[in-house]
């Protein structure tokens, strides 16, 4: 018997109907990080249908996904694969599976930390915190000059007036039992 129970769990968590996928491959063909992935978006959906939970949660694919939504925008069956990737990430965290791309998980966490405390994103803080946490100081240096010149990294943060409210939103939703 092929274990098909994962399908319903993912469908519920991501609000998608993944069985609609007919593997036209348009998502994978347009995914900007597909070349780095092991399976690609449509193969990930296929593996869900076969109940391959361990393999998926341990894969690089779910952490390499940039959430750019190119896949979901182009899917002829209106499946938002980025949301499915997100659902798989949520299950991985909930079940304590070590992410195959640790930098990706750290980036997500750092990002949310900044937003929680400043009320909105501050790229310079994100950079500093991420670099210190991973101790990988130099690998993105080649992007730095262009980003600075374009004004992508404002040095002074804009502290939101309502940052207290944002912090409360984080605090009050952190212990909501998520159906994962």
């Amino acid at each position: 018997m092929i274990d098909t129970t994962l399908i319903e769990r993912i469908n519920l968590l991501s609000s998608q109907t993944i069985q609609l996928c007919y593997h036209c491959h348009k998502c994978t063909a347009g995914c900007p990080v597909a070349s780095e992935m092991t399976y690609g978006p449509d193969r990930v959906l296929r593996l869900v249908q076969f109940g391959e939970k361990e393999r998926l949660l341990a894969s690089h694919d779910i952490w390499l996904c940039a959430g750019c939504e190119t896949c979901g925008t182009r899917c002829p069956n209106e499946i938002d694969i980025a949301r499915v990737m997100d659902a798989l990430r949520q299950i991985a965290i909930a079940e304590g599976v070590r992410p195959a791309e640790p930098y990706a998980e750290k980036f997500h966490k750092t990002f949310l930390f900044i937003v929680q405390n400043m009320g909105r994103m501050h790229e310079a803080s994100l950079l500093a915190a991420f670099k210190l946490w991973t101790m990988d100081l130099l690998s993105d240096m080649d992007s730095a000059p262009a980003m600075l010149l374009k004004g992508k990294i404002p040095l002074l943060p804009h502290l939101l007036k309502g940052r207290g409210d944002v912090r409360r939103i984080f605090e009050e939703t952190s212990d909501v039992k998520r159906e994962t």
Partner: protein, 581 residues
């Protein structure tokens, strides 16, 4: 001296781009038999035709040559034109200077022009010798024979009978309904096939214009369109299985009918799964074909394993089990299986909610209205798992049926231990279809399906005038297509019956009695059975209704006694002379 008009068409650039049409006109005018010659951009257009009409009146023309496209395009058009101007239609001929000249000599303009001049001149010679002919009128019996009492035959019978014409409906089994009566629900809305059929069968049985003959077969059909003679044999008792050829009880009686048109609706039968040894042949009881599974899905029946009667909890459907298989001799797609497998899988999941259904497929062909959405429902609403790969082997292991397949979408081989397997086997022509085709003088293709007259434009006619096709006997199709085709065939019948008489082309063979030696060579040569030797007068005769003007008898006759109207030997020799001038 004849007074022929030569009308040279430019056909836009098609002819004039290669052939010097003015030169063709100039050369034609030199012919003493030509009273008038002119060129025009589009002869077939209204002004072009008007030019022809006016010229006939103005110059007192007694013959017309339109040097233009192939007669297959516009011979009928121009013949109607001259007829409307009071000239006999058969004094008009097409000289093909397009398909057989300008279109194939585009790089040799001078030679093409010379060739066009020669073609026009030779056709002018032919027209000189043409007699004024009148189309033949033949009597027409307004009774239809429908062979096959399934949904196709019944629909055609109802359409013709509702128009007021009598129908004889012949069915070789003991009841009407055909294969549709063997189905459970139908896709798309699971409406029960027997319920849908009940109304139709009742209407057919009660119809004042339809005579139903069950346990009957057409043993002979002679004659020609509008004037067939059918011999029907009725069998008192049918002991054998419905799918075998021939009865095993002697015929009880025969009926003969005069028939005007025939609709062949003999349907299909499932491929014998014994010919699929890698899928267990017919030896594994829990491996059945689609039609057998239908019986289990019928209301009141249960889905149970044939071996031990248990309800199957894991069921595998195998699509393309024999179809699309060149090696198996069934290269074609059977069209309906993708749809009925989805239906059967959904009905199974409804009846056995804790069961798991798998479908192995290579492609999904769901090309009708709402069909693709229907198949997707099986995947989304009924949790049927669709696996993309052709099943390699099916065998027994203990009380399970092992299925070896693959899923190419995830690059994996699969082995499923199933309780039951349903094979979607090919749709093949019904038993005895080819023999019936021979009796009716209609042809079948390499797969045994009846040949339509043209694959695109004439899907319900055969090349035998008066014999039409409906249903799966012509090729695999589902119920809505069958009904549409049956109504199409009925429309062709009604078209034939719309007049009280038939007209036929007068370009048929004729016999010059003084030259005929009654040798019988023409009788042997005629492919249409139109020749015979008159018993009293001892000369060959022509059945003008059957004769197609092919000329085989002309070639066979040693005395040139057999000639085709307006294609006489002296005409042809004059045409050859004109070509060599």
């Amino acid at each position: 001296m004849a007074k022929i008009g030569i009308f040279v068409c430019h056909c836009g650039h098609n002819i004039a781009g290669t052939v010097d049409v003015q030169q063709v006109v100039a050369e034609a005018q030199k012919n003493p038999d030509v009273a008038f010659a002119i060129d025009y951009k589009y002869m077939c257009s209204d002004p072009g035709q008007q030019l022809i009409r006016e010229s006939i009146a103005k110059y007192g023309l007694d013959g017309v040559v339109v040097a233009a496209c192939s007669p297959a395009m516009h011979e009928t058009t121009f013949r109607k034109t001259v007829a409307s101007a009071g000239m006999n239609a058969f004094k008009c001929e097409s000289a093909n200077i397009r398909e057989q000249c300008s279109w194939v000599h585009q790089n040799a303009k001078d030679e093409a022009t010379l060739k066009a001049i020669a073609i026009a001149s030779s056709i002018a010679e032919k027209v000189k010798g043409n007699e004024e002919l009148t189309p033949l009128t033949l009597p027409l019996t307004h009774r239809t024979l429908v062979i096959g009492g399934g949904i196709a035959g019944m629909q055609a019978a109802l359409d013709v009978a509702d128009a007021g014409y009598p129908v004889i409906l012949v069915e070789k089994q003991d009841r009407l309904g055909g294969r549709m009566a063997q189905l459970s629900g139908t896709f798309l809305n699971f409406a029960a096939a027997p319920d849908l059929l009940r109304q139709i069968i009742e209407r057919v049985s009660a119809h004042p214009h339809i005579q139903v003959l069950t346990n009957a077969e057409v043993s002979e059909l002679s004659g020609y369109v509008g004037n067939f003679r059918a011999h029907i044999t009725h069998y008192a008792l049918r002991i054998t299985q419905p799918d075998t050829v021939g009865p095993d009880s002697p015929p009880s009686e025969g009926f003969t009918f005069d028939i005007g048109a025939v609709v062949v609706a003999t349907g299909w039968q499932p491929y014998d799964r014994a010919k699929l040894p890698e899928y267990g042949g017919a030896d594994i009881p829990d491996v059945v074909d689609g039609l057998t599974f239908e019986k289990m899905l019928a209301p009141g029946s249960e889905i149970r394993r044939p071996s031990d009667g248990r309800v199957p909890r894991e069921i595998v459907f195998v699509q393309c089990a024999g179809s699309r298989d060149r090696e198996r001799g069934v290269p074609y797609c059977s069209k309906v299986c993708c749809m009925y497998v989805a239906k059967q899988a959904m009905l199974y999941r409804e009846r056995v909610p804790d069961g798991q259904a798998y479908v192995f497929y290579i492609d999904i062909r769901s090309a009708g209205k709402n069909y693709d959405e229907y198949v997707q429902r099986a995947m989304t609403d009924f949790s049927v798992l669709y696996l993309r790969g052709k099943v390699s082997k099916i065998f027994r292991e203990g009380d399970k049926v092992m299925v070896w397949g693959a899923d190419t979408l995830s690059d994996r081989a699969l082995e499923i231990a199933a309780d039951m397997v349903v094979l979607a086997t090919p749709m093949t022509p019904t038993a005895g279809a080819a023999e019936l085709g021979q009796r009716l003088h209609i042809s079948t293709d390499a797969n045994g399906f009846y040949n339509e007259a043209h694959p695109k434009l004439r899907p319900v006619e055969t090349l035998t005038a008066g014999i039409f096709l409906a249903g799966a006997g012509q090729g695999p199709k589902d119920i809505p297509e069958t009904v549409a085709q049956a109504s199409g065939a009925a429309a062709k019948v009604l078209q034939l019956f719309s007049k009280d008489e038939m007209t036929a082309s007068p370009m048929v063979a004729t016999v010059i009695p003084e030259l005929c030696a009654a040798c019988g060579a023409c009788v042997k040569a005629c492919p249409y059975g139109a020749r015979s030797i008159h018993p009293l007068w001892n000369i060959a005769t022509v059945n003008a209704a059957l004769c197609q003007g092919c000329g085989a008898c002309v070639v066979a006759c040693p005395n040139k006694a057999s000639q085709v109207h307006n294609w006489r030997p002296e005409q042809i020799l004059a045409m050859v002379d004109a070509l060599y001038e």
